[in-house]
């Protein structure tokens, strides 16, 4: 089991992010899987360090440290529309009290474990996007007349993870957000190029196949949000 079996060569990655056709061929799904996981871990490393430091400075788990940080924001923000049921100042105080509650493990260890968990979530999220979004795109590809198989498709589209590495810079103030936006747009372009290359569909059809799942996810998310808001409204009206 050599590293070569689990990762494409740096030259392939370089070709793919430069949208060269040679970057998307002769790669296996195994190599793409390795690349998605490794790049996800690399991208999550700086956020991991930042999260660990943030949680360790409070001496608690990361979610509670975040809750504590939200408390001051909540107390400063005028939230009159929810204050019928919750007093923002009191809610902020509650968050601070919860963040200060003692836990069995030492603070630094709790901080490390929670930040580690968040770090592991990075490659898992990338994997989810790669597989789930890929499955939806493959359905659209088939409907639009493509005949390619799953393995070469996933092998080629895995290269979209390379530009996503820029998201790892997100903790840097201002610049991080710009880098994240660039990374996402670049990844989408690489993904579209990979899909076009592997399916041999005309550019417009290939782009349609890549875009349709986004619209589907957007509509599904809006429906879910509307249902949630309706549920909250009915719950509040009941009281």
């Amino acid at each position: 089991m050599s590293l070569h079996n689990w990762l494409p060569s740096p030259q392939k990655m370089s070709d793919a992010v430069q949208l060269r056709a040679s970057g998307f061929t002769e790669t296996t799904m195994r190599q793409s899987l390795g690349m998605v996981l490794l790049l996800g871990l690399l991208a999550g490393f700086i956020p991991f360090l930042v999260n660990w430091e943030r949680a360790a400075s409070v001496g608690t788990a990361l979610p509670l440290a975040r809750l504590g940080a939200q408390a001051s924001l909540l107390q400063e923000t005028p939230l009159s529309y929810i204050s019928t049921y919750f007093d923002p100042v009191q809610l902020g105080e509650l968050f601070q009290v919860i963040a200060g509650l003692p836990q069995p493990l030492p603070g630094w260890l709790t901080a490390f474990i929670s930040a580690l968990g968040e770090w592991i979530n990075w490659p898992l999220r990338w994997l989810a996007v790669w597989i789930v979004y890929g499955a939806l795109v493959m359905v659209c590809n088939s409907v639009l007349g493509a005949t390619c198989r799953l393995q070469p498709f996933f092998a080629a589209t895995g290269f979209a993870a390379a530009p996503l590495l820029l998201i790892g810079l997100s903790p840097i103030p201002c610049l991080g957000r710009v880098c994240s936006v660039i990374g996402v747009i670049w990844a989408f372009i690489v993904y579209s190029r990979a899909n076009e290359e592997v399916t041999n569909l005309p550019r417009l059809r290939s782009l349609t196949a890549v875009t349709l799942p986004l619209l589907f996810i957007l509509i599904a998310s809006l429906c879910a949000l509307a249902l949630f808001v309706l549920f909250i409204y009915l719950f509040a009206a009941d009281f």
């Binding site: 990361l62 509650l94 009290v97 919860i98 509650l101 836990q103 968990g117 898992l124 789930v132």
Partner: protein, 234 residues
């Protein structure tokens, strides 16, 4: 004959949608027994990882009683009063054990129970998925036997091994990833076991998955209704 030593190789190749593990499963003398044992192994491993994750999560957070008391104390000091406060407190108190059981936070005893229930649940789900996908595949013109389908479809549980990461607290594995990846593996399995072309195999895999989803949703709704009727005290 059981070949557990081959399972890691089968699982790795199934995750990569390669046909070899399905061919070996289908050609096995007892594919459904291999499938049954594979599902049980995956279930036990996942449950053990979740138990460890639950222990670490409980040690990483304040005690659940202290947390609940803090929230309730804050509610009592809030703007809400009388009947509303009573209703909120009652709802919170009845939902709290469910929240703990679901998250694994301060729910070690529940996780101990899941050492038995997770493999059993996984086996039931595999049987239902296997039977329905076999019926769908046969309807689509497939030639495989039920035992071969069960053996091939058992490998669709391979993505559940991602739940091993939940041994680290605060790791969350998207259920949609596990399900979609599982359906893709089942699709490959049905292609091999029933010698189907991609279209019918995909329809059989998705149809069977939708059926399992429907049954699971009905079971969850029935459990929820039972919970509401009993007033949160089952």
């Amino acid at each position: 004959m059981l070949q557990p030593e081959n399972y890691p190789r089968f699982i790795a190749k199934a995750l990569l949608l390669e046909p070899d593990p399905f061919v070996e499963m289908v050609d096995d003398d007892n594919p459904w027994i291999e499938g049954l044992f594979l599902c049980a192994c995956i279930g036990v491993l996942v449950a053990a990882a979740q138990l460890l994750g639950s222990l670490l999560l409980t040690a990483s957070l304040p005690s659940s009683d202290a947390l609940l008391n803090t929230v309730l104390q804050s509610l009592r000091q809030g703007a809400a009063g009388g009947e509303i406060l009573f209703e909120i407190e009652r709802a919170l108190r009845s939902a709290w054990p469910l929240l703990l059981a679901h998250s694994g936070y301060d729910g070690v005893s529940f996780r101990l129970l899941s050492l038995a229930t997770t493999p059993l649940g996984l086996i039931c789900q595999w049987l239902l998925f296997g039977l329905s996908s076999h019926l769908f595949a046969r309807a689509a013109g497939g030639q495989g036997a039920l035992g071969q389908t069960l053996g091939a479809v058992a490998l669709s549980n391979a993505p559940r091994l991602l739940y091993l990461f939940t041994a680290v607290p605060f790791v969350s594995v998207a259920a949609v990833l596990v399900h979609v990846w599982g359906v893709l593996i089942a699709f490959r399995g049905l292609e091999v076991a029933h010698e189907l072309s991609p279209g019918p195999a995909a329809l059989a895999a998705v149809g069977a998955w939708l059926l399992v989803l429907l049954v699971s949703a009905l079971a969850a709704a029935a459990f929820g209704a039972l919970l509401v009727i009993s007033g949160g005290n089952l």
